[in-house]
C-alpha cells in the first residue's frame, strides 16, 4: 500500500467518535498548559500517563500528540499578551508579538500566530507522513551499534550542543543516566542500585521523575523568586482579523518557518526553540521592513510560530520511526508508548500500522481543532492568566501529586517526588538544564542494551562501534557537536548558543 492509502485509512480511524473526543481533550488541555506559565506539554503528558493507564492505546497517544501540538499554539498567546512565554518555544514570539499587542495590534498578532501554526502543522504533518516510511526502510538496516551511535548523538545534542555550558549539560545528562541504572538489569536480571528497596526494583518511574523535575522543581523555583511585580496583560484591542497587508507579509514567513522548523525538529537537535531563533533571524534579514523589527513586525511572529509547530511535527519523525526522542515531551511520549507495551520504531509500522497512521492522521484533525480553539476562543484562554498565583501553583501541585498517587499510592513515591523536586530546584538555581536528566533516564537503558548487544557480538571489542560506516558518521557528528560549542564558547562566541538553550519543550 502507498503512504496515501495508509494515511486515508488512518483518517478513517482518527474520525471515530472516541478518537475525535480524545483529540479534542488533548488539544484543549494542550492549549491550556501552553497558556499557563510553569507547566508545559512534557509535564502535562507525564501527569496524564497514570490517568490514561486504563484507556486504549490509540486514544491516549492521540491525546498526548494533541497536547504537544496544543502546547505550541497556546504558548504564543501568553507571549503576545503577557510578554511571558508560556513555554520555551515561544520566547521569540514575545519579542515582536508583545510589541504588536502594546501597539493595539494584538488581534492580528494572535491571528498570524494561529494561522501560521495551522499552515505549518498541516504541511509538517504531511511531510512526516511521507518521510516516515523512507526512514523506516533505512532503520531496518540499523543494527545495535548504529542505534547506539544514534543515541549517543541524541545525548550530545540534547545535553551539550546548545545551552549555557557543556559541563552543566553533560552533568545533567549523566545524572539522568546514573538514575536510569536503578532497578533490575534487563539482560541479566541482576539488581543494580536498588539497595534492597522493593519500590526501586522496577527502576525509577519516568512519570514520577518528570513530574518532580518539571512541575515540582519549577513551582519551588518560582516560589523562591518571592513576590515579583504582577505581569501586565495586554487587552486585545481592535479586530482579530488580519488586513490584506498582514496576509501578504505573513504567508511567506509561515512557509519559511515551516521549512526551517521541520528538519530541525526531525534531527536529534533537541527542542523546538532552535528553529524559532533561526526563523526569526531569517525573517529579520529578508524583511522589506527591517526598521519594524523590535517594534512589532508581523513577520517576526509569523515565522517563529510556524517554525515551532513544524518542529513539533518533525520531532515525531525520529520518535515514531526510530524510537528516538529528541525533546523532553517526545521522551515522555515514548514512556507513554512503553506503558502500552509498544516500542516505537520500524517494527511498529509493520505490526501496528493502524495505530501509527491513526496517530499521524489525527494530528491533521487536531490542527484544525486548534485553529478553531485558538482564534474565536482566544478571550477564554486569556482569562486563565487572571488566576491568582497562589491558587494556580497550589492547583498545579495537586494535579502533579494526583498523577503520582494514581499510578502508585505509596508514601515512598511521594517521597521521591519531594526529593527530586528539590534536586530539580537546586539544579535550576545553579543553571543546570533539566531536559537532559529526563532524556538520560529514558534513553539510558535503551542505549545500554544496544551497546551491550553490539559488544557481545564483537566479543568485547570496542572498536566495532566505529567500524560500521553509518555508526562512524553518527559518532563523528556527535563528536563535532560536543567539541564545536566548547571552542565557540572559549572564543567568546557562546551567546548565540546560550540563547538557543533547549529547555523543557
Amino acid at each position: 500500500m502507498s503512504t496515501f492509502e495508509f494515511l486515508l485509512q488512518g483518517l478513517v480511524s482518527a474520525m471515530e467518535p472516541m478518537n475525535l473526543f480524545y483529540a479534542l481533550i488533548g488539544v484543549t488541555l494542550g492549549t491550556m498548559v501552553g497558556v499557563l506559565p510553569g507547566i508545559g506539554p512534557a509535564t502535562t503528558v507525564a501527569l496524564l500517563l497514570p490517568v490514561t493507564y486504563q484507556l486504549d492505546a490509540t486514544g491516549s497517544l492521540i491525546m498526548f500528540a494533541g497536547i504537544y501540538y496544543g502546547g505550541m499554539y497556546g504558548g504564543s498567546t501568553t507571549s503576545i499578551l503577557l510578554n511571558t512565554p508560556g513555554e520555551s518555544a515561544s520566547i521569540v514570539t514575545a519579542l515582536e508579538g508583545n510589541k504588536m499587542a502594546r501597539a493595539g495590534r494584538g488581534g492580528p498578532a494572535l491571528a498570524t500566530a494561529a494561522i501560521g501554526s495551522f499552515v505549518a502543522g498541516l504541511i509538517a504533518t504531511l511531510a512526516l507522513a511521507f518521510i516516515a516510511p523512507y526512514i523506516v526502510k533505512l532503520a531496518l538496516v540499523f543494527g545495535p551499534r548504529e542505534y547506539f551511535a544514534l543515541m549517543v548523538l541524541a545525548f550530545v545534542t540534547v545535553s551539550s550542543a546548545f545551552g549555557n555550558s557543556t559541563l552543566r549539560g553533560l552533568t545533567s545528562l549523566f545524572i539522568g543516566l546514573a538514575l536510569s541504572l536503578v532497578g533490575i538489569d534487563q539482560l541479566t536480571g541482576q539488581n543494580r542500585l536498588s539497595f534492597g528497596v522493593p519500590d526501586l526494583l522496577d527502576g525509577i518511574e519516568v512519570t514520577t521523575m518528570a513530574v518532580a523535575m518539571f512541575a515540582i522543581g519549577e513551582t519551588l523555583y518560582i516560589a523562591a523568586q518571592g513576590e515579583a511585580a504582577p505581569d501586565k496583560i495586554e487587552a486585545i484591542r481592535g479586530s482579530v482579523w488580519m488586513t490584506a497587508q498582514d496576509w501578504g507579509r505573513s504567508w511567506k514567513a509561515w512557509l519559511r518557518g515551516t521549512v526551517i522548523g521541520f528538519p530541525i525538529g526531525a534531527m536529534p537537535a533537541g527542542g523546538a526553540e532552535i528553529g524559532t531563533f533561526l526563523s526569526y533571524a531569517t525573517e529579520k534579514r529578508l524583511s522589506k521592513h527591517p526598521e519594524e523589527f523590535g517594534n512589532g513586525a508581523i513577520e517576526g511572529v509569523a515565522g517563529p510560530e510556524a517554525a515551532n509547530n513544524a518542529s513539533a511535527a518533525g520531532t515525531l519523525v525520529p520518535l515514531l520511526t526510530l524510537g528516538l526522542p529528541t525533546s523532553a515531551t517526545a521522551a515522555i511520549m515514548l514512556a507513554g508508548f512503553q506503558q502500552y507495551g509498544l516500542q516505537p520504531g520500524p517494527l511498529l509500522f509493520a505490526t501496528n500500522p493502524q495505530l501509527v497512521w491513526g496517530l499521524i492522521a489525527s494530528l491533521l484533525i487536531a490542527n484544525l481543532m486548534l485553529l478553531v480553539l485558538n482564534l474565536p476562543l482566544v478571550g477564554l484562554w486569556v482569562k486563565l492568566l487572571t488566576i491568582p498565583k497562589p491558587w494556580l501553583y497550589a492547583g498545579i501541585l495537586v494535579f502533579a501529586t494526583l498523577g503520582t498517587i494514581g499510578a502508585n499510592p505509596s508514601v515512598f513515591e511521594l517521597g521521591m517526588l519531594l526529593v527530586f523536586g528539590l534536586v530539580a530546584y537546586i539544579m535550576r538555581v545553579f543553571d543546570y538544564p533539566i531536559a537532559p536528566v529526563i532524556v538520560g533516564l529514558i534513553l539510558g537503558p535503551l542505549a545500554e542494551q544496544q551497546l551491550r548487544r553490539a559488544l557481545a557480538i564483537s566479543q568485547g571489542d570496542v572498536t566495532v562501534l566505529f567500524t560500521s560506516p553509518i555508526a562512524a558518521v553518527l559518532l563523528s557528528v556527535a563528536a563535532i557537536a560536543l567539541v564545536l560549542p566548547l571552542i565557540l564558547r572559549a572564543r567568546g562566541r557562546g551567546d548565540a548558543l546560550s540563547q538557543m538553550a533547549a529547555s523543557e519543550d
Binding site: 546514573a178 542500585l193 516560589a223 501553583y393 498517587i405 511521594l414 519531594l418 543553571d431 559488544l455
Partner: protein, 164 residues
C-alpha cells in the same frame, strides 16, 4: 559567565564553594555506583561485558565531570545566582511533607487539601483557615471524579467513605 568586571584579585582567587559541593556530590554518586556494582564484576561472561560495565563507565564519567566542575569552581565559571527566598520554598516543602504523612491516615482529600493550603501560603495566600478547607473540598470533588468515575486508585479516608 558572570558579567561582573570589577572583581578584585582576592575575589577571583576564592573558589565557588557551592560548585565544589556539587563536585563532591558527583563523586559521592560515582562512589555509590562503584560500590554497588562491585559484586556484579564477574558476570561479564565471555565478552567481558556484563551488568557492571555501563555503570562503571557512567561512574568514571561522573568523576571526570566532578574534576571539570572543580576547575570551573576555581575559575568561577558558574553564572551569578539570583537571590532565593527560602520562606516560600519551606511552605511548599511543608505542604508536600504534610501530604506524605497524611495520605495513609487521612485519605486523599485531607492530605492533598492540606498540600493545597500550604502551597498557596507559599505564594502569599496565608489565610490557612480558608485555603485548607477549600483545598479539601476541591480534592474531594477530584477524588470523586478520578476514583469514582475514572477508576483511579486514590487512597480513601474518612471523608471519602462518606460520599462513597
Amino acid at each position: 559567565m558572570s558579567l561582573d568586571n570589577n572583581k578584585t584579585s582576592t575575589e577571583q582567587r576564592r573558589p565557588d564553594w557551592a560548585a565544589l559541593v556539587i563536585a563532591a556530590i558527583l563523586v559521592a554518586v560515582a562512589a555509590v555506583i562503584f560500590l554497588d556494582v562491585d559484586r556484579l564484576r564477574d558476570m561479564g561472561g565471555y565478552s567481558q561485558v556484563g551488568p557492571a560495565t555501563v555503570p562503571n563507565w557512567i561512574a568514571f564519567a561522573l568523576i571526570g565531570l566532578a574534576i571539570w566542575t572543580v576547575f570551573a569552581a576555581f575559575r568561577r565559571d558558574f553564572p551569578a545566582r539570583e537571590k532565593q527566598e527560602f520562606g516560600p520554598v519551606a511552605w511548599v516543602v511543608a505542604g508536600l511533607l504534610a501530604q506524605m504523612i497524611l495520605i495513609r491516615i487521612a485519605g486523599f482529600s485531607i492530605a492533598t487539601g492540606t498540600l493545597f493550603g500550604l502551597a498557596a501560603a507559599g505564594f502569599g495566600a496565608r489565610r490557612l483557615w480558608i485555603s485548607i478547607p477549600i483545598g479539601i473540598v476541591v480534592c474531594l470533588a477530584i477524588w470523586w471524579l478520578f476514583a469514582g468515575v475514572l477508576q483511579l486508585s486514590l487512597p480513601a479516608g474518612p471523608l471519602e467513605h462518606l460520599i462513597q
